[in-house]
Amino acid sequence: MSSTPEASHDGADPRPRAYGAGRALVAVYGILALAATARSLYQLGTKASEAPLPYALSGLAAVVYVVATIALAHNGTRMRRVAWTAVIVELVGVVAVGTWSFIAPQEFPEATVWSHLGQGYGYIPAVLPVLGILWLWRSDPARLVRAETSPRTR
């Protein structure tokens, strides 16, 4: 993943290969968004009254994942702000609901995407927002420009 400033001399894109990595991240987000949306629609559609709080939280999480997927894929100036908001909401959500579900498991008779730090999804919901934040920081256009103009601060 190392990119040298010299790379720009032969006309090649001097940026790290993060473009592809960003797309891989979008793929994982897409799969999780699909899984969370399908599951919450099914839960809310068939048995919303059984466990309203967990199912409502699942629905909220699903919406945030869909927004994050679209915003990360779009990668425009405003969409990057939307993506920042979405990944931070995810991180806060997974930590808050995760902690809450450990303290008060009786509130969560049914698992949500975020309960127990995303245990039911292999803890991916806890890891993804961190990867999302790292990616957004790394691919930040202002940071890349700074890195190119003064290589020592990279």
């Binding site: 592809g20 797309r23 891989a24 699909l34």
Partner: protein, 123 residues
């Protein structure tokens, strides 16, 4: 009904083994900084063919009276597992870097996880 479940398990395990092999193959190519190549298409077709067989077996046995407590969820998983690998290959046409291999490895790994979930729901 015991024998029927054995057949479903056999198909699930076959899909799981094939998809695991594809995960490793794509993972090795990702580690070597290589994109998905056309030669991996037969691997994907093998997994997809096994998945189609699985969908037919599950459909026939369910129609034949095997009780499935959560049919909608089961078919949600079956259909999702059918869509993942074609999506990963479509991705590979656009993304000609190592990251297409990463995406394929992830998609194949998710197929393996879905097989476990399908087995849990089938029982």
């Amino acid at each position: 009904m015991r024998g029927y479940s054995g057949r479903v398990l056999a198909v699930l395990v076959s899909v799981g083994v094939l998809a695991t092999a594809l995960t490793v193959w794509a993972g090795v190519r990702a580690a070597r900084d290589r994109p998905v190549q056309g030669g991996q298409l037969p691997g994907m077709i093998a997994v997809e063919a096994a998945l189609v067989v699985q969908a037919v077996v599950i459909g026939v046995l369910q129609a034949g009276g095997h009780p499935v407590p959560d049919g909608i969820l089961l078919w949600g998983y079956v259909i999702t597992s059918l869509c993942l690998l074609p999506a990963a290959f479509a991705w590979a046409f656009v993304e000609r870097t190592r990251w297409s291999s990463v995406v394929l490895a992830i998609a194949a790994a998710v197929v393996v996880v879905l097989q476990v979930r399908i087995w849990q729901l089938w029982q």
